[in-house]
Subunit: 339 residues, 2 copies
């Protein structure tokens, strides 16, 4: 029988207990976990600390009609692990900040936390602390993730050099197709595949890839695709002071996404470039690093790494398509300006 | 002339730029600050990392009618610095997660960030990253603070031993009086002093005290008064497996708070014990540590440290008052349960 208590019924301290009792035994480097004023951890010796925070807001990043508590808990951590992966950092610890509507069911809370912890366990990440508050409006779930990387193994955005090859992992476009379909039920396109919907609802962070790129020093610049491939390429180019020329034909657009974009009358290339939330990694690597990339490929199973363009000297970012060359369109903004 | 643009007018990237351009030059240990997928910092050599996160939600923790953007920015960081102080950790880095209503003015954003950064600067804390999202409801401001403490210098809740003296810093009750007065304009009490209102709106974290207690190993257990003195004493006792006997006459109740509680027909002792958000520190220290405490006092200016009770062997937590001894009433819950 499903427990019908709400979080307001049981109160802040009981909510924290519900979370704490779900956390597996602490690893040795965690001196103090949940339950004191702050968590205490022993940093990896000789390593840098990599810090990121990302928040999911109900009605902005997810909708309770479409996202289950399992989806929400998974994604809240995944988007943070993706940021660490983009820096070449191995995830180590996480903090969870929950602002909960009073009518949230304890059963939903438990499901969300279990899902977050399952993903954390897969990536050897320990939930060491957090904060629980009431929300008079949306559910807000903030995660801070702390990772570890050796000096000179950190991947930044500003290291791309002319003649580097631009790679992207996995496939692109599926999350955007999944989201568009959820938002526009009456859209002319047919329903996109379960793979597309799942990609939006429960993305995978490319942790093994990011860590392997960093440890093998196989990339000169790297970024995740939280805001889409266009955005990532434009930012790497701007930060590095270089240009990029992408090849539209080379883009690894997810076949289901391509089919759905076409059925909806959209250009698959533009849609896949602009679509956010693929949580793949884009990186640049010179041809001379081919041996290092081979080491990386051994660590990432069957995740494809596709060359999609080249870094250029001029600061123009362009995409070649059917013999023509055009400026790369700008990507997606989570929080669009109108000015 | 005050800028009347809203955050939605300028968009996510411009909001991040507004924050980034306000951050002072980065200290040497910050390898990467705002503007990459994550921040990168060099941990203090031989130190533990102390991690905490605390979120302020509009309508729950503050009200825009009473709290200015300057108040909100200050308090969002102060409550986190207080958690680090309670662990004996020196604050080092912070991350800021903002969920912003679309109608928030850029001028208010700037004021809030300037205030947070002014407090950060005073405590040698660097804002290294964060996240900006839209909010369809309240303003939500989450801060993660990362501090540093040497091993065996960390202050926890569970170290209190029988015959330790219980101390509290500063004064108690002022924040509760300030909050109650703001919430109940028509309350029978006269208006509380500006000092009480300010204590609620813009609390000071006891950073110097926490760090000095840790470095001098002058406390066996420590906690901050975010949820009130009763709550702190009960938790230290429970975590340490001991009892405590407080002396009501010894409590350093703020004189303005005492006057206001009395004018409102409330018992000042009960109100000051239950009132949250004083952000003082409660700690225990055996008589033999008197020399260490002298070193601590030299570091904290004129902040008083008042002995208010003693740790006992039995697990009862009691307060003596007018020759009578009664159980210590339970404290304040930010997120009250009704069950």
């Amino acid at each position: 029988m499903r427990n019908s208590s709400t979080v307001a019924d049981i109160g802040e301290h009981a909510v924290i207990e519900h979370i704490r009792e779900r956390v597996p035994p602490l690893p040795g480097e965690v001196v103090t976990g949940i339950g004191d004023d702050a968590a205490v951890v022993e940093p990896d010796r000789g390593a840098l600390a990599v810090l990121t925070t990302d928040t999911l807001v109900e009605g902005v990043h997810f909708d309770r009609d479409h996202s289950s508590p399992t989806d929400i808990g998974h994604k809240a951590l995944a988007v943070n692990l993706s940021d660490l992966a983009a820096m070449g950092a191995a995830p180590r610890h996480a903090l969870l900040a929950l602002s909960l509507p009073a009518d949230w069911l304890v059963a939903d809370l438990d499901e969300m936390v279990d899902s977050l912890l399952a993903l954390a366990f897969r990536h050897r990440t320990t939930l060491v602390g957090g904060d629980v508050a009431a929300s008079p409006g949306p559910l807000v779930i903030g995660v801070t993730a702390i990772g570890s990387a050796k000096p000179r193994r950190v991947l930044r955005r500003n290291g791309a050099r002319p003649d580097d090859i631009v790679y992207v992992s996995g496939t692109i476009g599926a999350a955007a197709a999944g989201l568009a379909a959820l938002q526009q039920r009456s859209h002319p396109g047919s329903a996109p595949s379960a793979a597309c919907r799942r990609r939006h609802l429960r993305p995978e962070a490319r942790v093994a890839l990011g860590v392997a790129l960093g440890r093998n020093r196989a990339a000169r610049a790297c970024m995740d695709l939280s805001d889409g491939l266009s955005d990532a390429v434009l930012r790497i180019a701007a930060a590095s002071g270089v240009g990029v020329r992408l090849d539209a034909e080379a883009l690894p657009i997810h076949p289901d996404a391509r089919a759905w974009f076409e059925s909806a009358g959209l250009d698959p290339v533009s849609a896949a470039l602009a679509g956010g939330e693929d949580y793949e990694l884009a990186f640049t690597s010179p041809p001379a690093f081919r041996g290092r990339l081979r080491h990386v490929r051994r660590r990432i199973g069957d995740l494809p790494l596709t060359p999609i363009g080249v870094v250029t000297k001029g600061r123009h970012v362009r995409i070649g398509r059917g013999g023509k060359d055009e400026p790369l369109p700008r990507g997606y903004e989570h929080f669009p300006g109108v000015g």
